[in-house]
């Protein structure tokens, strides 16, 4: 009887010891998992599109550089030129660091925005921006990857009788194409520039 009790006590002790040994390991493992989840980007930039020079492009072409991605259409008279000029200001402000950042303008109006239409639009902002377009299917796939919204709606007064609504944020992707941050439309270029500089310097 006493022996059994002694044995039980021993087993209990062994159990506690085992737990004491294993617990930190489990905990460390859990912590590492958490840290990884926090560091892991929400999604990866992933696209197969044609640039404004007619070249086939994927995110791999920009590996090792940060990507500043935004969506729009060349017929857009307000939001898009404003965003393009903001991006031009950011790129100018980056100075030597500009080499580390590739701005990409992705069209959500593939019907009108052929590569040559983009070639007549994007380079005018003189900021090294690459215009990307594709087939309607390619653009639809890209929008799903980037979790952005766009919609064509009929507007009698608009050129060609339609205009587009679209997500107007500016997205930042890291050197491994992972999503890093986004800024809402109308965020001052100076604010984005300061944030971007800090991230590049890290």
């Amino acid at each position: 009887m006493t022996l059994t009790l002694f044995r039980k006590a021993l087993w209990a002790l062994a159990g506690v010891a085992a737990l004491a040994l294993v617990w930190p390991l489990l905990w460390a493992d859990y912590r590492a998992d958490r840290a990884r989840a926090e560091r892991e980007p929400a999604f990866q930039a992933d696209f197969e599109l044609t640039d404004h020079r007619g070249m086939f492009r994927t995110q791999e072409d920009f590996a090792g550089r940060w990507m500043l991605v935004f969506f729009g259409f060349a017929n857009c008279p307000d939001v898009c030129p404003t965003t393009l000029s903001e991006v031009a200001t950011i790129m100018e402000g980056l100075g030597n660091d500009a080499e580390q950042v590739q701005p990409l303008f992705i069209s959500i109006d593939p019907e009108r925005d052929t590569p040559s239409a983009l070639a007549d639009f994007v380079p005018r902002f003189e900021a090294g921006i690459i215009g990307l377009t594709g087939t309607p299917d390619q653009i639809a796939t890209t929008s799903q990857t980037f979790k952005i919204f766009y919609e064509r709606f009929e507007e009698a007064s608009a050129p060609d009788g339609y205009t587009m609504s679209h997500s107007s944020q500016l997205f930042l992707f890291g050197p491994e194409a992972g999503y890093v941050a986004s800024w809402a439309y109308n965020t001052p270029a100076e604010e984005i520039l300061a944030d971007l500089r800090e991230r590049i310097a890290q």
Partner: protein
């Protein structure tokens, strides 16, 4: 003879008097900081921006635009929802209370210049006439800045 002279004087000054009374409405509208961006050819619409101030003491109602530059000039509003989706729609009439300023600025309202009749060239200007409900008009010369301009001076 003297009375005829007075009558003539009154008749001559009458139009001025009418013009002065009209100043209580659209005549007291001041347009400042007008600017626009250069266009690429004429196939895509342009946009112009400005501050429209009602310096009078009566409400004014902006009803439309007119310019020889574009076949269809209209005020449009860009709105961005919580999900960050921007879209554009015609505004219609805009009431401006006494002392108030309505800003046409990037990301908000803009004078959308559709059916351009000639390209908007950097360094040039074009006349844009604002039409008001009282029949008054205000014409402003809008400077055309570079395509990447961010405002009236930068």
């Amino acid at each position: 003879m003297k009375s005829i002279l007075i009558a003539m004087l009154v008749a001559m000054t009458l139009p001025f008097g009418l013009a002065t009374s009209a100043r209580a409405g659209a005549g007291d509208v001041v347009v400042e900081n007008a600017w626009s961006r250069a266009s690429i050819g004429t196939s895509r619409p342009g946009a112009a921006y400005m501050d429209i101030r009602n310096a009078g003491d009566e409400d004014v109602m902006l009803t439309g635009l007119r310019t020889d530059l574009a076949g269809m000039p209209e005020i449009h509003l860009t709105s961005t929802n919580e999900q960050g989706v921007s879209s554009m729609s015609p505004v219609g009439e805009i009431a401006i209370a006494p002392g108030e300023t309505v800003a046409l600025a990037p990301g908000g309202m803009h004078a959308m210049l559709m059916q351009l009749r000639r390209p908007m060239e950097e360094g040039e200007t074009f006349p844009l006439t604002l039409l008001f409900s009282d029949g008054g008009e205000v014409t402003v010369e809008v400077p055309i800045r570079g395509i990447a301009a961010r405002g009236p001076d930068d």
